[in-house]
Symmetry: C2
Subunit: 340 residues, 2 copies
Amino acid sequence: MQNQAILLAKRPVGLPGPDTFQFVSSDIPEPREGQVLIRTLWLSVDPYMRGRMNDVKSYTPPFPVGEPIRGGGIGEVVASRHPAYRPGDLITGDLPWQLYALSDGRGIRPVDPNLRPVTAALGVVGMTGLTAYFGLLEVGRPKPGETVVVSGAAGAVGSVAGQLAKMNGCRVVGVAGSNEKIRYLTEELGFDAGINYKTDDLRSALRDACPNGIDVYFDNVGGPVTDAVLFQMNDFGRIVLCGQIAAYNLERPEVGPRLFPLFVMRRLCAQGFIVSDFARRFDEGLRRLAAWHQSGRLKCRETVVEGFERLPDAFLGLFRGDNIGKLLVKVAEPSQPARA
Amino acid sequence: MQNQAILLAKRPVGLPGPDTFQFVSSDIPEPREGQVLIRTLWLSVDPYMRGRMNDVKSYTPPFPVGEPIRGGGIGEVVASRHPAYRPGDLITGDLPWQLYALSDGRGIRPVDPNLRPVTAALGVVGMTGLTAYFGLLEVGRPKPGETVVVSGAAGAVGSVAGQLAKMNGCRVVGVAGSNEKIRYLTEELGFDAGINYKTDDLRSALRDACPNGIDVYFDNVGGPVTDAVLFQMNDFGRIVLCGQIAAYNLERPEVGPRLFPLFVMRRLCAQGFIVSDFARRFDEGLRRLAAWHQSGRLKCRETVVEGFERLPDAFLGLFRGDNIGKLLVKVAEPSQPARA
């Protein structure tokens, strides 16, 4: 048995290609005093990780070249010299793209044993759920009766943001890139309307779907979708800038219509945010998300890609729009049933 | 003696030209019961008035074609059948571009008899002062030690916003379009630095003038100046969108770099506002502005154009950057000393 890792081989320019990633093998390490050895079961791939591949000062440091890529994951403790963990424990947190990894306990925590499925810890009851929760409720502040538009609406964050807006009594319109996604939004998640930005005339579809204009825009995408939405914002509208996936693989910044004259005229507010800005309130958010998830009020489909070796392609699938809901890579089955 | 008016002859496309304005003469009207006859002394020309020349739904209704242009002004009551006004009273408020105008008292109020000069009622102790006051303090919320950049810094609003930021303990950098304006900012108003966007390399000048980055940007201009500032904003920076004069005469919206990816990365917030959003707090603002003005803490130069017939050109001068401080048109001398 060997360990495997996927390193950032070089910084990508534009869309990452095969030369961005390097697979390396090594021996499985032994934990030293204070360490646990984790066997990776699940890894989450998320659009923000593209930013960490660039050498740009940002809210998370860049991945070093020649080091493993890292992201949210779930693992099983297989050996422990750490007082808080025993073999068989399930943990979640920041993990390297490796089959096995050592941890000193920083950045990991036990998975809530009541969570079913455990992968919800990477989605609706994890970072993507928290992102939607704080972004929509604290940044967007939707009021009952308002109209909320969500871009990237069928993704992990967008699908939760839209459901939270519905729970707050809003009219909710999702923008996504396939008819299958639109059906998911309207038939399974209760969105009031969905717009396929690839085939619909975006401006007229928005006018039809938002007869009272748009009060809150939860933006995961940017680019022309965002332009079209902004031109239909109501006075005092709020634009929650959660992500801009349309821009992440551009080799140079794109141009678009200047929107600030519209901001003055309609007193719009655009606010960028990062989930970690709300870290002190994660416990509150996770408690509420877990309760809604458990009661079935909050749904989120998972799109699962099987196999460690498919991590790079699964990651690139985010930019192709492959996923409905949370995109996860299944690395391994747990070796034993999780502790109750 | 005849009355004269300047009507909006047709809606301009791009920069207004001679065919935008029409001079007409008529008899001087007599006030009816409940009316005052006002002789116009001063008229204020302001960039926002360009927006009212378009047929676009906005926060103020468009000027009707064939009707007089209107704006802030100061006048003298020459005849009154209104219980609140006597001949000789000075009033300020929304006035038509006319030598004489009737009013039923709505939209006008007496000029504070302690105000010296009375024209401060159109500037630092009037709408432009209030715009700077609420925009900087309520929208921008600068903290002592932060760096504030103001565009259109030598204009009526920008010059007050910058001084208020200094009073709040900030490092203040003004961007303006001539060396004379820069000297005004740094030598008379106490700005820490000034940048001439027409001759300086904007990005490197901003880096030099803002060694700790930019926390608050008070924007009157938009366009490439704003792009350059935004790329140097600090995390959690606030962008106060007060005006976008660079865009007001464009025949079609300009394109520029898409800035929202930067908003997410640095958690920037851009908020458009209009002074009338704060109407319920005007008394508070005017009281404080008047006190600072009277004590000499708050200065604002006036650029005066003499003659009613020069109103259109004075207005267009705003877009050429002709003015330092408040741009006013002197229409007439008061016929008698103002009442004490």
